[in-house]
Subunit: 242 residues, 2 copies
DNA sequence: GCACTATATTTGTCTAGTCAAAATAAGTCT
DNA sequence: AGACTTATTTTGACTAGACAAATATAGTGC
């Protein structure tokens, strides 16, 4: 059994969770297989049962394990990719999916908020917002047009920052804002002339449109992103829970 | 303070959670406001602090509350609708969204699994699957074409069941299968002639295409749904977590 | 063989504490 | 006034137990 350390600052339940995840990934616990009971694990790891439970709970939430009262804890059969519904940056996604990502800045300006933007960002109309338009490339193919809006009062430094590797909300994180979640709405649309030109498509080609609001820890909206993805070859993945 | 009952079979932490949710909804705790400390709540509710914490943790996972160590627990500012990423049936959705839903059965037959279907359902090619095609209406407008596949060996009774109110996976639940999650892929496409006719659209109108695999508790796929939504007026909502 | 019963196993819930870490507020010294 | 220290509050992590509920298993009686 692997030994846990009590002094390196990593919580014991996190060490338990990651140890189990590693053992599952390595095949020590195969899909469908029953794990040792919580009592057994707690004595093997040398921690209390509640600590083991916290680690296991994280993995059941992720869908790696499932529990059945009176029977035991099991590894789920088919490990579909599980990290959907995660808010990740473009460069991280590029790295994970294995393509070369490039961001081309189209424009950056301070403009008064349109009604739609003001509504999404809980501002008054005509309040100044920073608007950033970018074109994103994957392996030298233009895939997405980004139209981002951030309240000017939130972070005027955004006008100087380098935008080629990070989205605006990732920069906001470095200024002390804690980004916790985002809500987005997905629709199917058709490319207008401008979009078609930028994305190198024919007019009326299918476009996956995303309306995304980035929320800080306290639930306050910090950014609005309107996102136009070319329809061919692009898809959004998500998991639904009963 | 509301009294919790120890005998009605509802876990105390669930009662704490729902009491807090009700108090927040009623405005007793306003957005941005600080909740009483966990110690205080535990003495007010008459339960241990760990029990209070479990209730609060559920609400932070939902995004209703957020905690800051050393400071306190707070109500999030803007209550965006939170029940995204939930797997719900068509009639439940209709009820929640407030439209009249109707399901029209187009065809139901047993066919050998195509490669794509076999792959999604972890079957061998040509294994028999039940294919169900339906057209779904909202307020007498055709909005979605459903193309569902269920392994024949899983539940042949599906050939007799009434499909007008429930999706196949909802019927599987009544046969003892525990549905826990689904993974789906969303794309933007164009309507072909058949789809355009069914959905009363012009050809090449935008279509939101969903490829959804329903998974049982143990992670085994029990159903594949190919879903074609008309693009105008239809959108998928989801939340992303950092 | 079949229905029922007792027993052991395992997860779910809960308690009553402890200590640590982070943030705030008050007080103290220079 | 400003920097530093100290005490207080609050959440985070953890322990070592307890009992309940669900399931499986073995045994018993007919």
């Amino acid at each position: 059994m692997p030994t846990l350390t009590k002094t390196d600052g990593v919580a014991l339940y996190v060490q338990v969770r990651e140890t189990l995840r590693e053992q599952i990934k390595s095949g020590l616990f195969a899909p469908g297989q029953k794990l040792p009971s919580e009592d057994e694990l707690s004595s093997q790891f040398g921690v209390s049962r509640m600590t083991v439970r916290q680690g296991i709970s994280d993995l059941t939430d992720e869908g790696v394990l499932y529990r059945r009262r009176g029977i035991g804890t099991f590894v789920t059969q088919f490990h579909v990719e599980r990290d959907h519904n995660k808010l990740t940056g473009f460069s991280d996604t590029a790295k994970a999916e294995g393509f070369e990502g490039k961001v081309q800045l189209l424009s950056r300006e301070v403009v008064p908020a349109k009604l739609m933007v003001a509504k999404a960002l809980a501002l008054h109309e005509t309040e100044p917002v920073i608007r950033i338009q970018t074109l994103r490339w994957a392996n030298d193919v233009p895939v997405t047009v980004y139209d981002e809006y951030v309240p000017y009062k939130l972070c005027h430094e955004l006008l100087q920052e380098d935008l080629r590797s990070r989205a605006a909300w990732e920069i906001l994180e470095t200024y002390g804002y804690t980004i916790k979640r985002a809500v987005q709405k997905i629709e199917a649309r058709l490319a207008d002339t401008d979009l078609a030109t930028l994305l190198n498509l024919e007019e009326n080609a299918p476009i996956l449109y995303k309306h995304r609001i980035i929320l800080a820890e306290d639930g306050a909206p910090v950014e609005l992103i309107l996102c136009y993805n070319r329809g061919d070859g692009y898809s959004v993945k998500m998991t639904l829970v009963r």
